[in-house]
C-alpha cells in the first residue's frame, strides 16, 4: 500500500503543530520522520494512521492491504502501551479477539509472531516481569499479529537504554528484511534513522514543516560494512547540519500544554 499526505496542517488550540505537510510513503520502504522534540512528528504519525484528525489536509491511500490483514495501519508505541494485567500472550491476542477468527488460526498467528520476536518462552510472563527491550518486542509482536500493511512506529526505541536499543534494532531489521513491510518510523535519533530508513524526512521545529527528504541509497543489509561508512558519515553530517540549528532553538522553547507527548 502507498500513502499520500496532502497539505496536512494541525493546530492544538492556538498552537500550530504542523504546517502544510506533503509527503509520500512508498510500498515496502522504511521512511524515517526525524526532527527536534515537539516538532509534531508524533502528531503527523497519529494523523497518518487515522487516530488524529488533522485541522486541514488529508491522507490518501492506494492499493489493497494484503489478504489476512486485520488492521492495515498498525502502531508500535514509544511507551509500549501493554496491558499490565495481561500476559505476553494475552497482550498479543488482544487485537485478534474481536475478529472471530477460528481458534486454530488465532493460536497459529500468536505462536508464529511470538516465535519470530523471540518471545515464545516468555508467553506467560506479565509485562512488569520483562525488561524494556522485551516489552517492546511484545509491542512489535502485537503489531505483527494483525498482519499490517503499514507499521507506524512512534519512537519505538526511545524508552530503552543504548545497548538494548542496538540489539532490538538489529532484530527488527532482520524481521523487516524478510517481509519488507512498509514502515513509517518516527525518531529523534539520527543514527537510528540512518541504520533503518530508506528515506529520511526532516521536519523543522514547531510548527513542523517538511525541510527535506533524503534518500539513504545504501541497502540496509550493507550498512554495517566498511564500504558504506563514508557515505553514511557524509549523510550524517548533512542531516545533522539541517537539524542542529532547529534543535538548538527547540531546546530553549517553553513546552506548552497539549503539545508534549501527543
Amino acid at each position: 500500500m502507498e500513502l499520500l499526505v496532502e497539505g496536512v496542517s494541525h493546530r492544538y488550540g492556538d498552537i500550530a503543530a504542523l504546517e502544510n505537510i506533503n509527503l509520500m510513503v512508498r510500498e515496502g520502504e522504511i521512511l524515517a520522520l526525524i526532527g527536534p522534540s515537539g516538532c509534531g512528528k508524533s502528531t503527523l504519525l497519529g494523523i497518518v494512521g487515522g487516530i488524529l484528525k488533522p485541522t486541514s489536509g488529508r491522507v490518501l491511500v492506494s492499493g489493497e492491504p494484503p489478504t489476512g490483514s486485520l488492521n492495515p495501519f498498525t502502531y508500535v508505541f514509544q511507551d509500549f502501551a501493554l496491558l499490565p494485567w495481561r500476559t505476553v500472550e494475552g497482550n498479543v491476542a488482544l487485537p485478534l479477539e474481536h475478529h472471530g477468527l477460528p481458534e486454530s488460526e488465532r493460536r497459529a498467528r500468536i505462536a508464529d509472531v511470538l516465535a519470530r520476536t523471540g518471545l515464545t518462552e516468555f508467553r506467560n510472563a506479565f509485562p512488569k516481569q520483562l525488561s524494556g527491550g522485551m516489552r517492546q518486542r511484545v509491542g512489535i509482536a502485537r503489531a505483527l499479529v494483525v498482519r499490517p500493511a503499514m507499521l507506524l512506529m512512534d519512537e519505538p526505541l526511545s524508552a530503552l537504554d543504548a545497548q538494548t536499543r542496538e540489539l532490538l534494532m538489529e532484530d527488527f531489521l532482520a524481521l523487516w528484511l524478510k517481509e519488507r513491510i512498509t514502515v513509517v518510523y518516527v525518531t529523534h535519533n539520527l543514527d537510528e534513522a540512518l541504520r533503518l530508513a530508506d528515506r529520511v524526512a526532516i521536519l523543522s521545529r514547531r510548527p513542523g514543516r517538511l525541510r527535506d527528504v533524503v534518500t539513504v541509497g545504501v541497502a540496509q543489509a550493507e550498512r554495517t560494512q566498511p564500504a558504506a561508512q563514508m557515505r553514511l558519515a557524509a549523510l550524517h553530517d548533512q542531516l545533522w547540519r539541517l537539524i542542529k540549528a532547529e534543535a538548538q532553538v527547540a531546546e530553549r522553547e517553553v513546552i506548552e500544554d497539549g503539545i508534549a507527548g501527543t
Binding site: T74, D79, A81, W85, L94, P95, H98, V146
Partner: protein, 268 residues
C-alpha cells in the same frame, strides 16, 4: 606499601545507614494481645475493676457460648448478614453503574459530580427516619440506608478509577479498531479495578457502621439490636460479646477483600 605507612592512623568509616526499614515481626502482635487480655482478666479478678463496667474476657467468652447454645446468636448474625450483604450489593451495583457512566460520558459527569458532592457528606443514618416513612420499619428501610451509604463512595471510587486508566492504553485499543465495548471490558474495567477494590474496602466498613446504627434504631434481631438491648439491661458481658462479633465480622470481610484483591490484581 601505603597501608603500612597509614598503620595506626586507620579508622573505620562510621556506618550511617540503617533504620527506617520495617521488617516482619509476627510474634510481637500475639504476645502483645495475649498480655493485654491477661492484664485485663487479672485486673477484674483481683477486684480492682468492677465486672459491671468491664467484664472479664472469660465472662465475655462465656456470654458468647451461652448465646450460641441458646440459638439466639445465629438469628442475630443471619439477620445482620442478610441486611449487610443485600444493602452492600445493591449500593455497589448502583454505584458501579453510576460511576462508569460518570467515568465515560461528559454529561453524566457534569450532572453527577455536584450531585454526589452534595449528597455524599450527609451521614446516611440521618435519612433513616425518612426511609422508614418511605419503606416502613421492616428490612427495606435498613437495606436502603446501607445501600445509600455504599452508593456514593462506590461511585466516586469507580469514576476516579476510570480517570486513572492511562489514556495511551485506550488510544492503543482504538488504533487496533477494537469496538467500544471491547475497550470498556478489556481496558477500562481492569484498569479501574484497583480503584474500585480500594473503594470496596471503604464501603465495607461504612456498611458495617450503618448496619449497627440502623439496627439500634429499629430492629428486634441483629447484632446492633442485641448490643443495644444488652446495654439497656446493663448486661455488659453480653454487650462486649456483641462487640467481639462485630470485630470478627469486620476482620472476616477485610480478609475476604484482601483475597479478592490478591486474585484480581495478581498482575501488579
Amino acid at each position: 606499601m601505603a597501608s603500612q605507612a597509614l598503620e595506626g592512623r586507620l579508622r573505620e568509616v562510621p556506618f550511617r545507614g540503617g533504620g527506617f526499614v520495617l521488617v516482619r515481626r509476627r510474634g510481637a502482635a500475639v504476645i502483645f494481645f495475649a498480655g493485654l487480655i491477661a492484664v485485663w482478666e487479672l485486673a477484674v479478678r483481683s477486684g480492682s475493676v468492677s465486672p459491671l463496667f468491664l467484664p472479664a474476657p472469660t465472662s465475655v467468652v462465656h456470654a458468647l457460648y451461652d448465646l450460641a447454645v441458646s440459638g439466639a446468636l445465629w438469628r442475630h448474625i443471619s439477620d445482620s448478614l442478610f441486611r449487610l450483604v443485600f444493602g452492600w450489593t445493591l449500593g455497589t451495583a448502583a454505584g458501579l453503574v453510576a460511576g462508569f457512566a460518570m467515568g465515560i460520558w461528559s454529561i453524566p459527569r457534569a450532572i453527577g459530580v455536584p450531585f454526589v458532592s452534595a449528597l455524599f457528606p450527609i451521614p446516611k443514618i440521618a435519612l433513616l427516619p425518612l426511609l422508614i416513612l418511605w419503606f416502613g420499619i421492616g428490612e427495606a428501610s435498613k437495606v436502603a440506608t446501607i445501600a445509600l451509604g455504599v452508593f456514593f463512595p462506590t461511585t466516586i471510587a469507580t469514576y476516579s478509577g476510570i480517570d486513572g486508566v492511562p489514556r495511551n492504553l485506550i488510544r492503543m485499543g482504538q488504533s487496533f479498531d477494537l469496538p467500544w465495548h471491547v475497550i470498556l471490558k478489556n481496558i477500562v474495567l481492569p484498569g479501574a479495578m484497583p480503584g474500585i477494590l480500594a473503594g470496596f474496602r471503604i464501603t465495607a466498613s461504612i456498611a458495617l457502621i450503618l448496619l449497627v446504627a440502623a439496627e439500634m434504631i429499629g430492629a428486634q434481631y441483629g447484632i446492633g439490636a442485641f448490643i443495644l438491648s444488652a446495654g439497656n439491661l446493663m448486661q455488659t458481658d453480653q454487650l462486649l460479646a456483641g462487640v467481639v462479633l462485630l470485630s470478627v465480622l469486620g476482620l472476616v470481610i477485610g480478609a475476604g477483600l484482601s483475597r479478592l484483591e490478591r486474585w484480581l490484581l495478581r498482575w501488579r
